[in-house]
């Protein structure tokens, strides 16, 4: 489901894996939020390279984390978005809220 790659006050990097839907996001959300509130990073990096499927619940997940990061004065990078997800991401207009990088690592 997810793996914490890096966790300090500058950067929290999370690798997401498997399917991201309503079911998995309801389990993922509290775990990610706990890590954010414990670490209070300046940047939250969500790495989607392990994701095999995502519907609009994943968009909701990003939107909710954007809200929290915004509250603590931080930003979000979404990286390694599989081309199969670009559709959903573009329809959502999410690229206006978060830094988006498709299929290659930014940092």
């Amino acid at each position: 489901m997810f793996e914490i790659i890096k966790s300090n006050e500058n950067e929290l990097k999370i690798l997401l894996t498997g399917e991201i839907d309503h079911h998995t996001t309801s389990e993922l959300r509290p775990l990610v939020d706990k890590e954010i509130l414990q670490t209070t990073p300046s940047i939250l990096i969500l790495d989607f390279s392990g994701v095999t499927f995502m519907d609009s619940s994943g968009v909701g997940l990003i939107m909710g984390r954007y809200r929290i990061m915004n509250e603590i004065g931080g930003i979000i990078h979404v990286v390694n978005i599989p081309s199969s997800l670009r559709h959903v991401m573009r329809v959502s207009g999410l690229n206006k809220l978060a830094q988006f990088d498709f299929e290659e690592e930014k940092i």
């Binding site: 839907d21 079911h23 609009s56 619940s57 939107m63 909710g64 199969s84 559709h87 329809v91 959502s92």
Partner: protein
């Protein structure tokens, strides 16, 4: 036009079944030799419709979700997802992008996403009785 193949499926409105629903419908359509992108589109559409039934139709109580799928000549497919839950009073409003009656983490994009991956999306509903989403497209070539 008569369907050359069809299936009916029903299951409890538990979120753990969302993955099963995606697999079942895409499995049924495999003989049409869809591309990976077409399979992903179908899975996405089914996922959105089933999630709506679980979150909104049954408001996270347990009810039954009914899926039926039909294959026609020329690669046309129709997928119906139905619940006997709350129903939708204002369908036009419900289908507006970003509109949601759900909690903070709901994007309100379910219907928009369905419409972007399917050729046609039709919603019928009677409040407190049922909601049915009927989606159709071609496998082999999405009309643009």
């Amino acid at each position: 036009m008569k369907a050359i193949n069809s299936m009916k499926l029903q299951f409890e409105s538990r979120s753990v079944n969302e993955s099963f629903a995606r697999m079942a419908v895409s499995g049924f359509l495999l003989p049409l030799d869809p591309t990976i992108e077409e399979i992903n589109d179908i899975k996405t559409a089914v996922s959105e419709a089933v999630t709506n039934s679980i979150i909104h139709g049954y408001k996270e109580k347990i009810g039954t979700i009914y899926i039926s799928a039909f294959i026609y000549e020329g690669g046309k497919i129709v997928i119906k997802v139905k619940d006997k839950g709350k129903g939708i009073a204002d369908i036009k409003k419900a289908m507006e992008p970003l509109f949601t009656t759900g909690d903070e983490d709901r994007s309100g994009l379910g219907f928009s996403v369905m419409s972007s991956v399917m050729d046609k999306v039709k919603v019928t509903s009677k409040p407190m009785l049922f909601t049915q989403v009927t989606m159709e497209r071609r496998i082999g070539s999405k009309s643009v």
